[in-house]
């Protein structure tokens, strides 16, 4: 049961990824270059558990922008790093950093509570 669900998940993801790649290839060259640069950054930065949704949404943005001939600077703004990191924060599902934020919050709570009791 678990194995079959896992296989289905992997195949589903792979299929979505291939569809994404096919659509991305159809973008005009400069839009494709920009999208691939963001994609590369995400590979290192991480998207958390919901990897496919963020790529699909970015692709939507670039397809629409290409159709409207919006200049690339007007899509991502002056600071592409800030753009992509703000963007990633919209997809928190399963992201490891969320667990670490939770851990940090709890550790500080414990430390503060210990201090109140101690004094």
């Amino acid at each position: 049961m678990f194995i079959s669900r896992f296989i289905k998940w992997v195949i589903g993801e792979k299929k979505q990824w291939r569809q994404y790649k096919t659509r991305a290839k159809q973008l005009p060259a400069s839009y494709r270059t920009a999208l691939e640069a963001l994609e590369r950054y995400l590979m290192y930065f991480g998207t958390g558990g919901d990897g496919t949704a963020i790529y699909a949404d970015l692709l939507d943005l670039f397809e629409q922008s290409a159709a409207n001939r919006t200049p690339i600077r007007q899509i991502v703004g002056e600071d592409p790093v800030e753009f992509i990191e703000t963007f990633v924060r919209n997809y928190p599902k399963g992201q490891w950093i969320l667990r670490e934020r939770e851990r940090l919050t709890q550790a500080l709570e414990r430390a503060a509570a210990e201090q109140t009791q101690g004094s």
């Binding site: 943005l61 922008s65 290409a66 409207n68 899509i75 753009f83 963007f87």
Partner: protein, 110 residues
């Protein structure tokens, strides 16, 4: 746009976009165009798009996909009840903030 303007806009853009949507449903590109008309000339398309993704995930808007003759289907955003409630809260907060700042400015200029 100045650095200060960019920073201040970060905290208010969500409310501004919801206010635009409260007038009528809009496409992402129209929202950016409206913001540019309002004088926010440097606003990036991606900034608005990321914000729309967020308010959609938070359930403040209803999204309808409409086929377009060029490019992919376009998403039309309209406010739902939660979005309106959120916008009301935004305006209350905004009034509070502007009143306080105005009185601070008056005191300072004396």
């Amino acid at each position: 746009m100045s650095k200060q303007m960019t920073e201040m806009l970060k905290g208010t853009l969500e409310g501004i976009v919801l206010a635009i949507l409260s007038v009528q449903p809009e496409y992402g590109y129209e929202i950016t165009a409206r913001l540019r008309d309002m004088g926010f000339s440097d606003i990036a398309e991606g900034t608005v798009y990321a914000l729309l993704v967020r308010i959609e995930q938070r359930g403040l808007v209803v999204v309808e996909k409409v086929p377009s003759e060029k490019g992919p289907p376009r998403k039309v955003y309209s406010l739902n009840a939660e979005g309106r409630a959120y916008l009301d809260e935004f305006w209350r907060t905004w009034r509070f903030l502007t009143e306080r700042l105005a009185s601070l400015q008056k005191k300072g200029s004396r």
